[in-house]
């Protein structure tokens, strides 16, 4: 960029000035531009070098859980309709285990890039702004979740002739739902990463947020019959809405209430991105 086209310095020393770096005062952050894309690409490039190790857990864990709980515990579970417990479990597997992908990326992955490997510091010296570094990491974490959903979906499709998991082509829409949910999960997770002072502190977040969200997601049992407070709590977690949508898209049984689930995820999107970007920017800039 030619210097002559940009505005010349006009302020005098000591003069009261607003925040620098394009920060919008009432938001506390600059609006990220497309410069978040090379950060996403960097994360992707590292993943592509390590992908064999990276995709083992996200494919094995949901399938082992599905078959273990579904066929093992399922023998003792009586459901209302004609379905077996293993079929009840399958739609949830498209969301709950992929969620871990987004969460780990935004917790441990981002922590390492921020604190241990100096990746953020290296990028900070380029025209990429801190807001874009964080957004790049969040969108990559969401991509990991969608990718994991895709992997689980493939395996469910393979098993469908025997176990009857997938009943509707609408199931393909679980991919964008997974990506959207991943953005929310990653935004919230990276905000927590920004206040962690050591790797071990990240496990607090796992215990107080991720684990309750995992069990109350509606993947393993319906939450309607739980005490009212537990049902309300479940509804506050993004994963609950993702699983509700996944269940409908897998079975093809659509209801109006699903719009409410989509509305929750959409309404949570900007606040989740903002909290993640604002909090992590603060950490990066202050050091």
């Amino acid at each position: 960029m030619s210097a002559s086209t940009a505005s010349r310095a006009g302020t005098k020393p000591g003069q009261k000035r607003g925040p620098s770096g394009g920060v919008v005062p009432w938001l506390g952050i600059a609006i990220p531009g497309r410069q978040f894309i090379p950060v996403w690409q960097r994360d992707r490039d590292v993943f592509l070098r390590l992908w064999k190790a990276e995709i083992a857990a996200p494919t094995i864990e949901p399938i082992v859980t599905l078959l273990g709980l579904g066929l093992g515990l399922g023998a003792y579970v009586e459901l209302g309709g004609d379905n077996d417990y293993v079929q009840f479990l399958a739609p949830g597997m498209l969301m709950v285990f992929p969620m871990f992908g987004a969460m780990f990326e935004a917790l441990f992955g981002s922590y390492f890039r921020m604190d241990q490997h100096g990746t953020y510091a290296a990028i900070q010296a380029t025209p990429v702004r801190p807001e874009e570094i964080v957004l790049g990491d969040i969108t990559w974490a969401a991509s990991r979740m969608a990718l994991n959903t895709g992997l689980v979906l493939l395996l469910l499709l393979v098993m469908t002739p025997w176990l009857g998991f997938i009943e509707s082509p609408l199931v393909i829409l679980t991919l964008p739902i997974s990506f959207l949910t991943g953005l929310l999960i990653a935004g919230i997770s990276i905000a927590f990463t920004s206040i962690a002072r050591s790797i071990s502190q990240l496990s607090y977040f796992f215990s107080i947020y991720v684990l309750p969200m995992f069990w109350l997601s509606g993947a393993f049992f319906p939450t309607d019959d739980l005490p009212r407070w537990a049902d309300i709590a479940a509804n506050l977690f993004p994963l609950f809405h993702a699983v509700s949508l996944s269940r409908a898209l897998t079975t093809g049984e659509l209801e109006w209430s699903l719009l409410g689930n989509v509305a929750f995820l959409l309404a949570g999107l900007l606040p989740s991105l903002w909290i993640g970007i604002w909090a992590m920017r603060r950490r990066i800039v202050r050091g």
Binding site: A3, A9, P38, G118, T126, P127
Partner: protein, 309 residues
Amino acid sequence: MTAIIKATALTRRYGNFAAVDGLDFEVAEGEFFGLLGPNGAGKTSTIKMIACVQDVTDGLLTVDGLDVRTNDRAVKSLVGVVPQDDNLDEDLTVRRNLEVYARYFGVPGAVARQRIDEGLTLMQLDEKANESIKALSGGMKRRLVIARALVNEPRVLILDEPTTGLDPQARHLVWRKLRLLRERGVTILLTTHYMDEAEQLCDRLIIMDNGKALSEGRPRDLIAQHAGREVLELHLPPEESARVVERLTPMLGESGRIEQVEDVAYAYGIDESHYRMVEAMASDPYRVIFRRANLEDVFLTLTGRGLVE
């Protein structure tokens, strides 16, 4: 002489602590400029503000006439930064590290490939292009970080203690590369606490302590001004040293002075006749050292010889 970097009353505060405290300096286009100071002097904070990585608390800082506060993207695209730590992507190859970095600057692929080839050749890393970062020595990593800082063809190259932790051979190779870059017209700003490095490389420098500039000028002028031409070091036993100092003191002119630091006395503003006299007095002439004054004398005179922690 046009100033490419201009700092006026530049200040960076963390709470009540001023890391940089009203610093004024200018760096001319094409100049090799040094910021010297002990740890905690404010060198790194200063360059982080130039690189738009940290906010300016007060004062004015411009790069090529652009205020760093309002033109962060434009300034960052003019500047290449070599940080203290080798923050390379360990999971990527040497070449991939540079490609990924070029994307942050929006350098188009074909242009980036050409610059990366040139950068690798310049830094003598051609043969390592497809190696992983773990396979590189400390000196190679340093050179790679310098190559990385060149992918945007910066007009200003900023290096934060570039040779800390390198062995002498690796250090001299980095110095040669930096001189080569300066010959090509790149403005270079270097922080260091190695005085020989500053003396060898810098056209001009400022010596900083506690966030303030103590002195500014060309290395040779600073030495002449603060330490004179020659220095006499007395590594003698205490009583003998005291006797010699007592004898020497009245012989020194107005510019002369003697500084006692622990077991060593340093005499400034002296000439060879003083040395002859002291040498004759000393029980062991090898413990009297007569040498050219250097930047280290200036630095220690200005910032104090005692250990500051």
